[in-house]
């Protein structure tokens, strides 16, 4: 008996894999919910109500989905080219910081219609630059970028902490360490009145569609994939690997930075060191659940956001620690890896 790689994974299996993975993760997490002495089905029902039970909860779930689409895309783009960017968390924070600084009263003071896109670009640029450091170290010195991107996450958050307790400190925040707020005009327009849902969601979905097109229809998209799948062959075929990977890193880091920028412009209005409840790390799970497909990222991000918002509701109603959402999301990454293996291989006797 041995494993044999399938030449082609049928679409039905590609869709069944994440669904199976999520179901398996929910079953395993159900054991932990039972450990809390709570009826499992009732807990999951409460979770669904928490995420979709009212106009407010739906808008909250979609608000949570927005940064997850962007960090999910950041991971998906990078992983497709075997650039292991685990630094989306740090890139998110630098993006948020750049946006808050330039959009505040210390910043640009342009007309909102001009400034908001500039602020988003600035956030993206800050994130992209942070990823160029580990990529450069890999290309020049052969340093594994997994560890460097992980380590830089801590450096980035400390840098943010330094800035918001220093030059960018909000003097009106009663001593709380938070950055100066962006000007009121710079806040992103709402999608739904009386909610936190903002047009950032449309930006994120739009970018996912653009990326899908770029990856499947352009020369760059093909070269970026080749650089990941088989760098040796790609090099012989004349693909400038280094340059392609730099561009991949600019896009990946840029998306993560943009996630931070949009979170500031759309939701918070300022930066704190707890602006992200792990959006960067969770983006890795989103990307894997999506099979690195940009369209799939939208669905996977919605699933992950549902877990987090739903778990808050379930936690309030039933007293199960809301960390159960993190457990489900982490488990679904592991089950997804196994599901992908099952989908990609078949057993030959």
């Amino acid at each position: 008996m041995r494993l044999e790689r399938r030449a082609h994974v049928p679409l039905s299996l590609a869709i069944a894999a994440p669904i199976g993975a999520v179901v398996a993760a929910l079953i395993l997490a159900g054991l932990l919910i039972a450990l809390a002495g709570v009826p499992v089905f009732e807990a999951y029902r409460r979770m669904l109500i928490g995420a979709f039970g009212s106009r407010l909860s739906i808008s909250e779930t979609l608000t949570r989905t927005t940064p997850l689409i962007l960090t999910g895309l950041a991971a998906a783009v990078a992983f497709r080219s075997r650039v292991w960017n685990i630094g989306a968390e740090g890139q998110f924070y630098l993006g948020a910081l750049a946006t808050a600084a330039l959009g505040s009263k210390l910043g640009l003071h342009l007309a909102p219609l001009v400034e908001i896109p500039i602020l988003m670009l600035a956030g993206a640029l800050a994130g992209a630059l942070l990823l160029l450091v580990p990529l450069g170290l890999r290309l020049k010195f052969g340093v594994d970028e997994v560890v460097t991107t992980l380590l830089l996450n801590f450096v980035a958050v400390l840098f943010v902490s330094m800035m918001i307790e220093g030059p960018l400190k909000d003097p009106l925040a009663f001593g709380w360490p938070q950055s100066v707020p962006i000007l009121a005009d710079m806040a992103l327009p709402k999608l739904l009145p009386r909610s936190r849902l903002h047009i950032g969601l449309l930006v994120a979905i739009g970018l996912a569609l653009v990326l899908y097109f770029v990856q499947s229809r352009t020369r760059f998209g093909l070269e970026a994939r080749a650089a990941g799948l088989n760098p040796q062959a790609a090099r012989f075929a004349g693909v400038p690997i280094g340059w392609i990977l730099v561009r991949v890193a600019l896009i990946s880091g840029g998306l993560a930075g943009l996630a931070g920028a949009i979170e500031v412009l759309g939701v918070k209005g300022y930066v704190t060191t707890d602006l992200s409840p792990g959006f960067g790390y969770t983006g890795v799970v989103v990307a894997m659940l999506a099979g690195l497909n940009p369209i799939g990222v939208i669905v996977a991000a919605l699933f992950v956001a549902t877990m987090f918002v739903g778990a808050d509701g379930m936690s309030r109603a039933m007293g199960v620690p809301s960390f159960i959402a993190d457990v489900i999301v982490a488990l679904s990454l592991l089950t997804m890896l196994v599901a992908l293996l099952l989908a990609n291989y078949r057993v030959r006797r």
Partner: protein, 314 residues
């Protein structure tokens, strides 16, 4: 006012170096054993967190401190087994699986901790390991305070570094681990089962990682709180490269690293407000990157690191 150089003359600094180094020694040795057998274990950060939680919880529920360490090691071994099963026989990506283990182990630690200890203002505490003063030696001037008045796990960690170095170099078991990490097919030709050796190495290494985490809650601090591992696991991964995959150098690297860390802590008191404290806190992470940079080209990487072994395939 103390001078920046006077800090080196205080026994307190050197005592702190050993204390800060201990979790790093355990973690680095653990990661090193996994990698010498050919498996990168990025589950380390989560495994350390889980070890910290389990060790603390065991003692909190009336267990002995040593029982706490044993429980942590066992829990670490269990996560190691999970990582090993996914990456060795199934051959899944070691990068992504390891990250998944970290996310899973740390979120599970927080969940279990919250389940047992409801939210409160101050986290509950336990009675941690007390310094074990070595008879006679701890009476030595300066050296006594600096080196011979540590908690028991610190002595264990240092001893372990030499034992693992010895085991890897001089025993058939160590040889088997090294061959499997260099060339699993050659190992198989010698009658060694690479899959078994790899699984066992990852299980053992992960138990060590968990001990490093447990040191935090059972000796360095006396309570558990989320995010307390603070990237120490990633630092260990960098230290393995710095140590060129050699246990005795891992010990040296961890001590050197801890020296910088302990020094910056005291230096920041001397310098005061002139430099933001965050700069000092960044130094350990930047140092780790620098260490990777210096050694990246020089280090002798186990040749089969991160290459899944499949029977009959080359």
């Amino acid at each position: 006012m103390m001078d920046a150089l006077d800090i080196f003359a205080t026994a307190g600094l050197w005592a702190a170096v050993l204390r800060i180094a201990t979790p790093l020694i355990f973690g680095t040795l653990g990661a090193l054993v996994c990698e010498r057998a050919g498996v990168l274990n990025l589950g380390i950060e989560g495994i350390m967190t889980f070890g910290a939680m389990v060790g603390w919880l065991t003692v909190y529920h009336g267990g002995d401190l040593w029982l706490g360490l044993a429980a942590a090691a066992l829990a670490g071994a269990a996560f190691g087994l999970l990582h090993a099963l996914l990456t060795v026989p199934l051959g899944l990506s070691q990068h992504v699986t390891g990250l998944g283990i970290t996310l899973f182990a740390s979120s599970l630690s927080y969940y279990i901790f919250r389940l047992v200890v409801p939210v409160s203002g101050t986290p509950p505490t336990i009675e941690p390991f007390q310094p074990l003063r070595i008879p006679y030696l701890s009476d030595l001037p300066f050296l006594g305070e600096a080196v011979f008045a540590q908690t028991a796990p610190t002595y264990v960690a240092i001893l372990l570094a030499f034992l693992i170095a010895l085991a890897l170099q001089k025993t058939p078991l160590g040889l088997a681990v090294r061959i499997v990490g260099e060339n699993p097919h050659a190992a198989e030709a010698q009658g060694i089962d690479p899959i078994r050796v790899r699984i066992a190495s990852v299980v053992f290494g992960s138990a060590l990682m968990a001990l490093g985490g447990a040191f935090l809650t059972l000796a360095a601090f006396n309570s558990f709180f989320p995010t307390m591992v603070q990237g120490r696991g990633w630092v260990c991964i960098a230290l393995v490269v710095f140590a060129s995959w050699r246990p005795e150098r891992a010990l040296l690297g961890a001590l050197l690293f801890a020296l910088f860390d302990a020094y910056q802590l005291r230096l920041s008191h001397v310098v005061g407000k002139a430099v933001p404290y965050q700069v000092f806190l960044m130094i350990p992470y930047l140092l780790s990157i620098a260490a990777l940079l210096v050694m990246a080209r020089r280090a002798r990487v186990p040749q089969a690191l991160m290459q899944p072994f499949r029977r009959g395939e080359r």
